[in-house]
């Protein structure tokens, strides 16, 4: 019965219900920590509202102006240099938590954007231009340059490897 109920609940609500239960448990064990966690949640929520609005606005514009043909032309195949550049640059300049970008990426994939570029976008997010001075302060200029260089290289490698594994899995399934 419970198994059937869980099966019928969509993934998005399953996670939500699980987290609510977690909070319920925390309230029961340590009410002070529960309050602290809720306050932290609220503060963070208020902070990310502009990012949520920005991402959803971007999605709106994206759906309105960017046609599937254009996307497939530039980001549909995992081999074009322009695609790498777009994925890396947009990954670097994207701000806010990673999960805020999942809806837009899901939308882009539905329009034909290749997994290679989605992976590259997500990995290149490790480079945060506004935070580079902080990295220099803590670990030095040489470290920052080397670190950033490797992230750039590995964001491309990740894109290739992930897409290769997914393709391999698909082929094995088909056989």
């Amino acid at each position: 019965m419970i198994k059937k109920l869980i099966y019928n609940i969509e993934g998005k609500w399953l996670l939500f219900i699980f987290v609510i239960m977690l909070y319920g448990g925390l309230a029961f064990v340590d009410f002070f920590l529960f309050q602290e966690t809720l306050l932290f949640f609220w503060d963070t929520f208020l902070q990310i509202i502009p990012i949520i609005i920005f991402v959803f606005f971007l999605m709106f514009l994206f759906n309105l102006f960017v046609s599937t043909d254009v996307l497939v032309k530039h980001l549909g195949s995992g081999e074009k240099i322009r695609g790498w550049i777009i994925a890396i640059v947009s990954g670097i300049v994207s701000s806010g938590p990673i999960y805020m970008w999942f809806p837009l990426l899901s939308d882009m994939r539905e329009k034909g954007v290749h997994d290679t570029f989605l992976t590259t976008f997500l990995y290149s997010r490790a480079i945060k231009i506004p935070l580079l001075p902080m990295m220099v302060y803590y670990f030095g200029l040489a470290f920052t340059i080397i670190f950033t260089g490797y992230i750039l290289i590995f964001s491309i490698i990740n894109g290739i490897v992930v897409s290769f594994i997914l393709k391999m899995k698909r082929e094995v399934k088909e056989v």
Partner: protein, 131 residues
């Protein structure tokens, strides 16, 4: 209309992940990060990557924690692995990634990202020693 549908679909997941992130940040004690390390580079790099993967929050926090770890004598390999996975690998966010980008993509990307972080950690330290 299409955008509205996407917002409706992703909102419960986003709020769920934000609640989970807040839970992890406030419940996990900060000094736990320092306590788990040994003196073995490989094991420590692995633990550094694991902690970065399960941690959540702003990248600024990761820099502050990494700075603190460095000040307490934790090796650079650990710090790099920790910094990279903090942003690129999200175990806490994995349910959201699965819901929105698919199970296979999310899992493969997480594993490849995790392994890459450890490789980057060693390469960074080796390069730093060579120059």
């Amino acid at each position: 209309m299409q955008t509205f549908g996407a917002i409706k679909m992703s909102f419960p997941t986003l709020i769920g992940i934000l609640l989970l992130t807040s839970f992890i940040i406030t419940v996990i004690p900060k000094d736990l990060y320092v306590r788990v390390f040994t003196n073995n580079h490989f094991i420590d790099a692995f633990f550094g990557a694991v902690i970065g993967s399960v941690s959540a929050g702003s990248p600024i926090t990761s820099y502050v924690i990494a700075g603190e770890l460095s000040a307490r004598g934790v090796g650079m390999v650990v710090i790099v692995a920790f910094l990279v996975t903090w942003v690129t690998v999200g175990i806490v966010q994995l349910p959201a990634e699965i819901v929105m980008l698919g199970k296979r993509f999310a899992i493969v990307r997480t594993i490849v990202g995790f392994v890459s972080a450890i490789i980057i950690a060693f390469l960074t330290v080796i390069t730093l020693t060579l120059i």
